[in-house]
Symmetry: C2
Subunit: 339 residues, 2 copies
DNA sequence: GTGAAAGCGCTAACAA
DNA sequence: TTGTTAGCGCTTTCAC
């Protein structure tokens, strides 16, 4: 059990018979230090294996060089890619990324946000839970001008930067696509109205129906939580209607996959009997048979740009630029399930 | 642009005409404080919206309540699940999780590990990159008795806790499975020998061949980096051999998927012409047609247990228990690609 | 049960 | 160009 004592700038200072502040300056490449001392100090630091105590530096400088991230679930591909994008950019700027997941529970989200706040993250990137109907925890940030940015799922009541895709247009497009392939009775399995993304997708769907003169039949709009349990049930309800739909726009790919499996089990041909589409382009969507039509969202890009935006705000605290809503393009991916 | 000044224990102390240390104690439920003052302080803290500065507390107490995580890529399902498991457990114990990804590059891994070290993480959970042939950066931790734990991919030269699956046995089992379904000429697309996981899978494969009296034909063992580019090439080489294999154990599911696509394109029937298996049970593996036989690894479990183990070490620094190698069970998943 | 004081390791204003 | 000094906000002895 050997235990190395950590080297501090004071140790270096003693060794070299100079002051700690000189060491500090030399180490941070401060301009008003002679090239000679700078080299000597850096050499010594290397020799003794000095590692700065970032905690102390942060306390002193009142910044943590850290951004906090809260997402519903880390293991969902969309969020994992976004985090990957955040981390990649943050790393180039020397920022750490603390992540936490709300598991789509408001209580856990609140707790995570509080923790990140207490840890003095310099900025916060979040995508809210399915239950989030309160914004107090996020006000902690916005009220103190600590940069806060939502991506994908946002709190409408909080004024801050947002990076989203146009769910309304995407919902409109994918519904139009179903219409253009000849579907006349199109249903939609929607997610919780509380979340902007599901609300927008649904409204895009409704608008497309109305633009093309198609009716919204009774029971054709199912609001669910889009879980592995809810989805199939909703689809079952749809297909059990007196006149079942000939096209279903599912609120996400997981639900579309469940629908696909339901069809296989019940000898329904996709897309002949019922055309299906999802949303998100999960990794499985391209390889399932029939492959799943869907909307691709640029998860990595959203994360990367979120990090860019927030770090830019952090580094320019006086930025008076109004909050931005950045809308990234989606891509309609037409595959066999609706071809 | 309003700007709230942060409340400190001193502010609370002033307001209440007591000392800062009393406030500190009251807030941390110290035993030698009267119930009355404790309540008063906590009430006031709530009232003024006091949020502890964790940075300062950490500096003082020399712990950060943070664990660092480095994985090759955050957006790979296995790692995302592991991180999810880590976060879930860490949260119950009040620990933060700083993540970073090496992108399978040694240089980035070194940099991430250094950063985490400088941030004084209390413990470190890592899964090494494909290039990691040097352990100096990890010694930073092991030499100082800062808990370090590898999961899945480890540095063999570093003595510390490990959580792994039995890749040797899993490789053996999946090869045996191919043999038992009648394959006589079984090839393997392996990953870099440098990583324990690929080496073990390969050796399990070789052992199974030898146990069942099957030969290893020339060119039947392909070592690649298992990328989306390498995998198909290796599979193409295999199928172009004078006598191509009738069963291929691919080092991971992605490569198996590529192989599957190659077969479709070249009118090879799976599993009739060639049986295929992967490794990892990615989300797409169960839904692709034909569904992919594979080995399921408990990613979430590994992460969860990794967090348990490391936090236990952190909280019991004097723990003289020898380092453990925890081996979690895998599950052979037989599906259509080899049935 | 409470307070005074020291200090975690670093940075930065001010002096020299 | 370098040193001195004073904290950042908190915890924790050591007194009382």
């Amino acid at each position: 059990m050997k235990k190395k004592q950590e080297i501090t700038i004071h140790n270096l200072a003693n060794e070299l018979n100079i002051s700690a502040s000189t060491v500090s300056r030399a180490l941070s490449d401060n301009s008003r230090i002679s090239k000679k001392t700078r080299l000597i100090v850096q050499q010594k630091a290397l020799e003794l294996g000095y590692r700065p105590n970032v905690l102390a530096a942060n306390l002193r400088s009142k910044k943590s060089n850290t951004i906090g991230v809260v997402v519903p679930r880390i293991d969902r591909y969309f969020f994992a890619s976004a985090i990957s994008g955040i981390e990649d950019y943050a790393w180039t700027k020397g920022f750490n990324v603390i992540i936490s997941q709300s598991n789509d529970l408001l209580a856990k989200e609140v707790s995570c946000v509080h923790t990140l706040f207490s840890n003095r993250v310099d900025g916060m990137i979040a995508s809210i839970s399915m239950q989030t109907n309160d914004d107090k925890h996020f006000r902690l940030f916005s009220e103190r001008n600590i940069p806060l940015l939502f991506f994908d799922r946002f709190c409408p009541s909080i004024d801050c930067d947002r990076i989203v895709v146009d769910d309304y247009e995407s919902g409109y497009n994918i519904t139009s696509h179903l219409i253009s392939r000849g579907c006349k009775r199109i249903a939609h399995i929607a997610g919780p109205e509380l979340l902007n993304i599901y609300k927008d997708r649904k409204e895009g769907y409704l608008k497309a129906l109305s633009d093309f003169g198609l009716p919204l039949y009774d029971g054709y709009l199912q609001e669910t939580r889009l879980t592995k349990e809810d989805g199939p049930q909703a689809f079952h309800r749809l297909m059990s209607l007196p006149v079942p739909p000939d096209g279903v726009f599912c609120g996400n790919d997981t639900t579309a996959l469940c629908a696909l499996e339901y069809c296989k089990k019940n000898n329904l041909k996709v897309p002949q009997d019922v055309a299906l589409t999802g949303f998100s382009d999960e990794p499985f969507s391209s390889v399932v048979t029939p492959s799943l039509s869907t909307v691709r969202q640029p998860g990595y890009q959203m994360g990367f740009q979120a990090a860019q935006k927030i770090i830019h705000r952090i580094e320019n605290a006086n930025l008076t630029v109004l909050f931005e809503k950045i809308v990234l393009p989606t891509q309609l991916i037409v595959r066999d399930s609706s071809r």
